[in-house]
């Protein structure tokens, strides 16, 4: 099993120039004597990604996700640390790296807006110096897999956001990169489109062995595409674990929804259930997943009324992650 991405003690500090404010004097002062502030965007992070792995990089705004991604793609120079991607040093071997990686920016389209996706793809074939026969056949495969046939020859400006994203991802795979970097790939998409993109990414990756590294705010991206999660906060790695491990370790609680004949239920405090929502006939509680807890809860409810329905869920991933951030902030404050 080869290592696709190897990061050791990677750091990035910026000197951001601060504008003093509007007005002529401020502007002149900014040019003549710029004021700057040092910011540690990424602070000695280390991780390794094996070839074929699908990793989600999540964190709140300003956490350092996009900065890290840009360093891996060779766009930014690190302040210190070691990185290899596909065996290459990104900023030093940028030309060769270009052939080995693909990028998808959710907020910025790489497709030419006035032209059909096919035109962008023909240009990309020249960018990546792919022989005609090779890219033609690869395009056919991608068109089948992504169902692009009706979209390929229509101007991009006529496509919906979801259709555009499908074309973007397909185009990014034309040169069969070993590693694909995606920056917020499902942003702005509706539920169906998100599901489609996630499914396509997962399937392509498992079939082609493409390593995926995606940054996102959307926990659905994690659950449906990736096997592994790296949580970044304040430039540091908070957690690096498989999705399963994340659920097991941090999902000690369960969400139980009780649909009852009576309008309300009284829950004795001893059970330790926290009411999340209560509307007539429907109560949702959060309870620690101990051995007896759920049983005790159901007993307590059945003593009062009959149960029409019972749903037991994991808490939403959002909450899990938010609580991880919160505990990190608390630790930070305590320190």
């Amino acid at each position: 099993m080869s290592i696709a991405v190897d990061v050791k003690e990677l750091s990035k500090s910026f000197r951001t120039r601060e504008a003093r404010g509007p007005g002529v004097r401020a502007r002149v002062a900014d040019v003549v004597a710029p004021r700057s502030r040092a910011v540690r965007a990424v602070d000695r992070i280390s991780f390794r990604i094996a070839s074929g792995e699908r990793v989600a990089f999540i964190g709140p705004n300003g956490a350092g996700k996009s900065t890290t991604l840009k360093m891996l793609a060779g766009i930014l120079l690190p302040t210190s640390g070691h990185v290899t991607v596909a065996g290459l040093v990104p900023w030093r071997d940028r030309y060769q790296l270009g052939f080995a990686i693909g990028t998808v920016f959710g907020q910025r389209s790489q497709l030419w807006y006035q032209l059909a996706p096919r035109d962008t793809i023909e240009l990309l074939a020249r960018v990546y110096e792919i022989p005609r026969a090779v890219w033609r056949s690869r395009l056919d495969t991608l068109v089948d897999a992504f169902e692009l046939a009706p979209l390929l020859d229509r101007p991009v400006r006529q496509l919906s956001l979801g259709e555009r994203m499908r074309c973007e991802v397909a185009a990014s795979l034309l040169h069969a990169p070993g590693v694909l970097f995606l920056d917020e790939p499902t942003i702005g998409l509706d539920v169906t489109a998100k599901a489609t993109i996630r499914e396509l990414l997962h399937r392509r990756s498992t079939e082609d062995g493409t390593t995926l590294l995606l940054t996102s705010h959307d926990t659905g991206d994690i659950e449906q595409v990736c096997d592994r999660v790296i949580i970044i906060h304040g430039g540091r790695i908070l957690l690096d674990a498989s999705v399963g491990e994340l659920k097991r370790r941090y999902l000690r609680s369960r969400r139980v929804t009780l649909v009852t004949a009576s309008e309300h239920v009284e829950l004795p405090a001893a059970i330790g259930a926290r009411v999340v929502s209560a509307v007539p006939h429907r109560t949702t509680v959060e309870i620690d997943a101990g051995d007896t807890a759920v049983g005790a809860l159901v007993d307590a409810v059945l003593r009062q009324t009959t149960l029409r329905d019972l749903v037991i869920d994991d808490p939403p991933m959002d909450e899990v992650i938010r609580s991880i951030y919160r505990s990190a902030d608390d630790e930070g404050e305590a320190a």
């Binding site: 509007p22 007005g23 002529v24 502007r27």
Partner: protein
């Protein structure tokens, strides 16, 4: 009325917050004046045949400085309007109480209030240093006063061009044409008396001479027309321009509402 004043103040503040752009225009102004000063020096050399003394060059330069001043003071609101229309912001804004057109004009006039004095200062300093004091100080004063009105009317026409974006989508080519016609028929670089008589008569049917040549020529010995007449002409063109712009705008809005934006 106070709503429009608020828009004007906004335009004023925005213009003050973008000194870079104004600085660029000032640089352009000085350079163009320099180039044309050279042209007129060269012309004076070759024009023993024109029978006009070289002292004429001083007047030419002040004329030039003033036409350039009027032209360059007017903010390029047409591009902001084009952006608004293209982004569809207009659909939301026209439901607001202030007339959108009026607001845009007020905004432009606010910006003008910042640009005009700055450009005037530059114009006077440059012209003075290149060609000495103006031949008629009183004439200069009148020229400046009328020039301010003219610059306001140019701003109004910029709004009109911006509104054309409803139909043209991309107004840049239309603006270029307008600008070149203004240069030529407005006597920007060459006073109208240089042109053949027929040409001048045709030009007078357009607003262009009144906008540039009119005010600037008040500072010379051969004004295009008396200040009073010029003011009336400017008001006439302003009213005509405004009426047409409003009609066009209302038409466009009606079409917007029918087609659902």
């Amino acid at each position: 009325m106070s709503k429009y004043l608020a828009f004007a103040k906004l335009g004023l503040r925005e213009a003050r917050a973008e000194p870079g752009e104004l600085l660029g225009r000032v640089l352009f102004f000085v350079l163009i004046l320099g180039v044309f000063s050279s042209i007129w020096r060269a012309v004076a050399e070759s024009t023993a045949t024109m029978g006009q003394p070289t002292g004429q060059r001083g007047e030419m330069l002040w004329y030039l400085a003033l036409t350039e001043w009027v032209l360059m003071s007017a903010p390029l609101v047409q591009f902001q309007i084009e952006d608004d229309i293209r982004r569809g912001d207009v659909a939301y804004q026209i439901t607001r109480p202030a007339s959108w057109l009026g607001a845009r004009l007020a905004h432009g006039l606010g910006a003008l209030a910042v640009r005009a004095p700055v450009m005037l200062g530059v114009a006077c300093v440059t012209a003075w240093s290149m060609a000495g004091p103006p031949t008629r100080l009183g004439g200069l004063g009148v020229a400046i006063a009328v020039g301010l009105v003219a610059a306001a009317v140019v701003t109004l026409f910029h709004v009109a061009i911006g509104v054309a974006a409803f139909w043209l989508g991309d107004i840049a080519p239309a603006y270029w044409i307008w600008q070149k016609l203004l240069f030529v028929l407005g006597g920007l670089l060459l006073p109208l008396r240089f042109y053949p008589a027929l040409f001048v008569r045709l030009a007078r049917l357009t607003p262009f001479p009144a906008l540039l040549a009119g005010p600037a020529s008040l500072a010379t010995n051969e004004p295009l027309m008396p200040a009073g007449v010029l003011l009336v002409t400017l008001v006439f063109w302003a009213l005509l321009g405004w009426i047409i712009t409003r009609a066009a705008f209302n038409r466009a809005v009606r079409r917007l509402n029918v087609n659902g934006g």
